[in-house]
């Protein structure tokens, strides 16, 4: 079963890459931007087929490795 998770930077954490992307987009003519924040996306294919169990496994991975909870939040967005 495939489980997808996104990792995003917490609100107060500086995101210099997001800022540069914002500036570049602005220079390209995208003038209607308030802010750009960059994050990460993971798709983990686990051997578990029960969606709740699979989700729990990936959530554990997020807590222990995929995200650093000092600066990042994680969210399981899809299981299929």
């Amino acid at each position: 079963m495939k489980v997808s998770a996104i990792i995003t930077l917490k609100k107060d954490v500086l995101d210099p890459q997001g800022k540069v992307i914002h500036q570049t987009l602005d220079g390209m003519g995208f003038k209607d931007i308030n802010e750009v924040r960059q994050g990460k996306y993971f798709e983990v294919d686990v051997k578990e087929n029960d969606p709740i169990k699979a989700k729990n496994i990936v959530e554990d991975m997020c807590k222990k490795l995929l995200a650093n909870l000092v600066i990042e939040n994680y969210k399981i967005i899809e299981t299929q």
Binding site: V13, L14, P16, Q17, L65, L66, N68, V70, I71
Partner: protein, 227 residues
């Protein structure tokens, strides 16, 4: 005095620190990340470099490697563990020292000499050091120290800041903050002060003809403190 330097895949300052430790009297052993047991040591060093290609987050993979269980146990039992540059990034990922290291504020890889103000000398690393300001070298892309406000308060209350970026006379302000670090923090201790993580490289300052001697002062003092 015995020391161990852990080599991770992608470490590239492991031999430099080996040279430095031996030059000032340590009997040093190189330890592979996949080993389980740590040799008997008075000091363990996590060296600089780019462990695991900096994948995911700098230091994140290395912090989960086999040998780190022994290093964490060693640290928790009071053993001296020093992480330099990527070693510091590994230490924060283990949780042995608080906070994280983000991309440098201006997205540049910074490679230059910096001045550092020692904040706390009541520990085996800086006790009895004659100087209060040291000149070391930094070379990093992710050295922007960050922690939550609660963590910062705890760090300051426990006097856990080891060194600050400053100018030649010890002024710590925004103009002398190379990477955007919170409060100019360049290195921190754990609560007990036996674990030190810092971005600057003392091992690159052990020869006057190459760079400078402030690293020599640091290592000479360190081995005397441990003896």
């Amino acid at each position: 005095m015995k020391s161990s330097v852990i080599t991770f895949p992608g470490s590239n300052c492991d031999r430099d620190i080996d040279v430095a430790l031996k030059k000032f009297g340590f009997k040093n052993k190189m330890v592979w990340h996949d080993d389980v047991e740590l040799p008997k040591s008075d000091l363990v060093v996590l060296p600089g470099g780019f462990s695991y290609g900096d994948y995911l987050r700098c230091g994140s993979m290395a912090s989960k490697s086999k040998i780190m269980n022994s290093v964490i146990n060693f640290a928790k039992s009071g053993g001296l563990v020093m992480g330099i540059c990527n070693g510091f990034q590994i230490l924060v990922e283990t949780g042995l020292v608080p906070g994280v290291l983000l991309r440098n504020k201006y997205l540049e890889f910074i490679c230059k000499n910096v001045f550092l103000k020692i904040n706390n000398k009541d520990n085996p690393y800086f006790k009895n050091l004659e100087k209060n300001i040291l000149e070391f070298h930094i070379a990093h892309n992710e050295g922007n120290y960050f922690c939550t406000n609660d963590q910062l308060k705890e760090i300051e209350d426990n006097n856990q800041v080891a060194i600050y970026y400053c100018n030649e006379s010890g002024l710590t302000d925004k103009n002398h903050n190379p990477n955007g670090s919170t409060n100019n923090i360049a290195g921190i201790f754990n609560k007990e002060k036996n674990v030190l993580g810092m971005m600057p490289h003392p091992e690159r300052m052990i020869d006057q003809s190459l760079s400078g001697e402030d690293g020599s002062l640091f290592f000479k003092n360190l081995i005397n403190n441990i003896k």
